[in-house]
């Protein structure tokens, strides 16, 4: 470990840290860079100095949403990489100086789900859009003493954050930080969905609805699994050229299908339907279209996109019974953070998994709102935000 990067624990351990954070104060408005106070980690927690963080569309969603589970003021951000600054009581898994990736997916390692190979949904610390850490309190206050809320148990748009150890994965410091942070959410979700949730086999046909970072990560995962045909569906044909670099072989511009439905076109292209369909946007009608595009007999549809609360997927009873198809959803691509992120890192270091192409922009922390503009404008995949620039 490069000692020059080591955080000087003597000065800060056990004490609150005053540092910069990008605070979401009002729905729909730019984040405010301001100083905040970050309390020391409590039992079972660690405090992390963020090296860099990337913007994911879920951050945008929760900046713009007015109603619960949105809340303000809040420190958003959940894709990041950092270094342990100090650890709370009872923590033996990490030491100061470890390079770590925080994840919104918890892994306590003890509950039935964590112990099972079949699930990555920790039941001790279940996934939720919580304003707090797991103990129902916050470690952030602003300079007026007002509580600032956490986001997805991570909150990475800050120089320092506090996390429960269940939400922290140690990583090999050989991976560049602006590649490591991608594995905290989007890329892992997409690659994992193809690899673990769907278990795409070599020679399969895959259809991906929505060519954002998640969709492209699914394509990358499917490519690594040896899929023979990867069809990308999007409303924006400009995405197609970029998507080729991720392994997408065929394209459907869903705004130019004329009288035919997208599912009809996919069924024709694949002589019966795709083996695996992934919905990566978060719209019920697209999930239903993906289901219709999957192959009769064994077609699997995996839902990755995050829709509005209350949105309903509707399937006709006949289609469910007669077609032998499967539908399921997947959080974090079905991956267990503490084991599987390291596997992805290894594949990156072995030059199999390609991460460079996901990073289209890099900015300094003060320009974080530019990252939001780029993503909302559909002009970026991943914009990496460096804390020290």
């Amino acid at each position: 470990m490069d000692k020059t990067k080591k955080v000087s624990s003597k000065s800060t351990s056990g004490k609150p840290i005053r540092c910069r954070a990008a605070v979401a104060r009002k729905a729909g408005e730019p984040l405010v860079i301001e100083e905040v106070i970050v309390a020391p980690p409590q039992t079972g927690e660690v405090r992390v100095k963020i090296i860099c963080t990337s913007l994911c569309y879920s951050d945008v969603t929760f900046l713009n949403l007015k109603d619960p589970p949105a809340c303000f003021p809040r420190i958003l951000g959940h894709e990041a990489v950092g270094v342990i600054e100090s650890v709370g009581e009872g923590v033996s898994e990490f030491v100061e100086g470890d390079m770590v990736i925080p994840t919104f997916m918890s892994e306590c390692g003890e509950c039935t789900d964590c112990k099972s190979k079949k699930s990555n949904l920790c039941s001790k610390f279940p996934f939720q859009i919580s304003p707090w850490l797991h103990d129902g309190t916050s470690r952030f206050t602003d300079l007026k003493g007002e509580t600032i809320h956490h986001f997805l148990f991570v909150s990475s748009f800050t120089e320092y954050t506090v996390l429960h150890v269940a939400n922290v994965t140690k990583v090999d410091s050989a991976i560049p930080p602006n590649r490591a942070c991608l594995l905290a959410c989007g890329v892992s979700t997409g690659v994992g969905a193809a690899w673990k949730s769907a278990n795409v086999e070599a020679g399969s046909t895959v259809a991906i609805f929505g060519l954002g970072s998640i969709g492209l990560a699914v394509a990358e995962g499917a490519r690594l699994c040896g899929a023979a045909k990867i069809i990308g569906v999007d409303i924006n044909p400009e995405k197609f050229e970029t998507a080729k670099a991720f392994g997408v072989t065929d394209f459907v511009d869903s705004r130019s299908t004329g009288d035919k439905r997208v599912s009809q076109i996919i069924i024709e292209m694949t002589d019966g339907g795709a083996d695996y369909c992934f919905e990566c946007v978060g719209r019920a009608f697209l999930v239903e279209e993906a289901f219709a595009s999957s192959r009769k007999g064994w077609g699997k549809t995996i839902v990755l996109g995050v829709d509005q609360p209350g949105s309903q997927l509707k399937f006709t009873s006949f289609d469910v019974l007669h077609l032998g198809k499967t539908i399921s959803g997947s959080l974090f691509g079905g991956l267990k953070p503490k084991t599987d992120i390291q596997t992805l890192i290894k594949r990156y270091m072995d030059k199999e998994l390609e991460l460079d192409k996901f990073v289209t922009h890099e900015v300094g922390f003060e320009d974080i709102n530019k990252a939001f503009d780029l993503l909302i404008g559909g002009k970026s995949l991943r914009c990496v935000i460096w804390m020290d620039k």
């Binding site: 079949k118 996934f127 978060g282 999930v287 839902v303 007669h322 032998g324």
Partner: protein, 386 residues
């Protein structure tokens, strides 16, 4: 079993025999004489030994689809080959065979895959014909065409079935047990075995304790499920269900303050590993989905609903719960391979079939069988042709 037919007298000629003809929706079937034409290419004419009534016969008899009547219903049966048409190598006169509505051509991509049982060369549909050449082999004494049903039409002393809809049994099994394997029991046992792949030690919840539900229980029991919860409106089903391995019961009518899924989630500390919907109702499908375990729970839909009824699932629940929904025809079983396996399992005294037969009667009493099943007073009524 294995009676020798004097088939040389009838081969190649039409046969005049008894059948129970459904002429109008919701009206009693009429026992009358019909003419059964000889088998065409790739077809087999079969002398039916016995046939059982399945709720799907009633479902279609209740619906008044245009062009459906008059029809020879029935799709659970066992018979003996009387004669074969051109191009048939797989079967010969005297073979014991089980016709089934699920086709298996054994050549197409799906038949050769072990991931599914849905033949793509002969996809399932509610056809009124014998199979490949869209004509019927049945006429009544006035010369009027009678429709086939589900490629089987077993409520007749003789029927004509395409070879892709026929399974041979190489060994002896009592006919009244054999006929159960052509639909209900194979669907249920198959669902636990093939579609769900229930593991030993699992918890299973079954919604709807008809023959399919009991067969799912029997299949789950054979797979080593630790706990099998039966859910039904009729408490009389519970005692019967114990025979099939059902360990716990939920009487739906007694669930006042809590929903069935809440009760199951409590009982199982988080939900069942596998939930099977065996009632044919989208509301029940939803209950079943809500009752399966977060993380890995699988819900398998077996029940036949009205075709356009919509099943509604919350999008975020799908995303966040790690649950899977699968539909399955014939329990995911491939007929030509799996029916003989189940028959052998019965002969080895593993698979229990006897309890499914609650009534035995003659073809003439078929309307009694309809009444019993509609009233929920029977499981399988087996009708013997002779």
């Amino acid at each position: 079993m294995g009676e020798k037919q004097d088939c040389s007298k009838t081969a190649g000629k039409p046969i005049r025999c008894r059948a129970a003809v459904a002429r109008k929706s919701m009206e009693p079937l009429v026992i009358e004489e019909v003419i059964v034409a000889p088998p065409k290419a790739y077809e087999v004419r079969i002398k039916v030994l016995c046939t059982s009534l399945c709720y799907s016969d009633i479902t279609f008899w209740k619906r008044n689809e245009p062009g459906f009547y008059p029809v020879i219903l029935g799709h659970e049966s066992v018979g003996v080959v009387e004669s074969v048409g051109d191009g048939v190598d797989e079967f010969k006169e005297g073979d014991i065979v089980i016709p089934q509505w699920m086709a298996e051509c054994k050549e197409c991509e799906t038949c050769t895959s072990n991931k599914t049982n849905i033949c793509s060369k002969f996809p399932f549909s509610i056809s009124t014909f014998s199979c490949r050449d869209e004509t019927s082999r049945f006429t009544d004494l006035n010369g009027q065409t009678l429709n086939h049903f589900l490629y089987v039409s077993s409520f007749s002393e003789y029927t004509v079935v395409d070879i892709v809809h026929l399974t041979k049994l190489d060994f002896s099994i009592p006919p009244n047990k054999a006929c159960l394997l052509s639909c209900g029991v194979s669907t249920g046992v198959g669902a636990a075995w093939r579609a769900a792949d229930v593991e030993s030690g699992s918890t299973v919840a079954i919604f709807g304790l008809g023959v399919i539900g009991f067969a799912v229980a029997e299949g789950s029991r054979l797979r080593g499920a630790k706990r099998i919860i039966g859910v039904d409106l009729n408490p009389e089903k519970f005692e019967l269900g114990k025979k099939y391995g059902i360990t716990d019961f939920i009487d739906v009518r007694k669930c006042k303050n809590k929903s069935v899924s809440e009760i199951i989630n409590e009982m199982t500390d988080g939900g069942a590993d596998y939930c099977f919907e065996c009632a044919g109702s989208t509301d029940v499908m939803q209950d079943a989905f809500n009752s399966c375990r977060r993380g890995w729970g699988k819900t398998i839909v077996l029940g036949v609903e009205k075709p356009n009824q919509k099943l509604s699932l919350d999008s975020l629940v799908i995303l966040h719960s790690g649950k899977t929904l699968i539909g399955s025809l014939f329990g995911g079983s491939k007929p030509k391979t799996d029916i003989p396996i189940l028959a052998q399992s019965y002969m080895n005294k593993e698979l229990q079939l006897d309890g499914f037969i609650t009534h035995e009667m003659k073809l003439e009493d078929i309307n009694k069988a309809f009444e019993l099943l509609i009233q929920g007073k029977c499981l399988r009524c087996v009708m013997w042709m002779d």
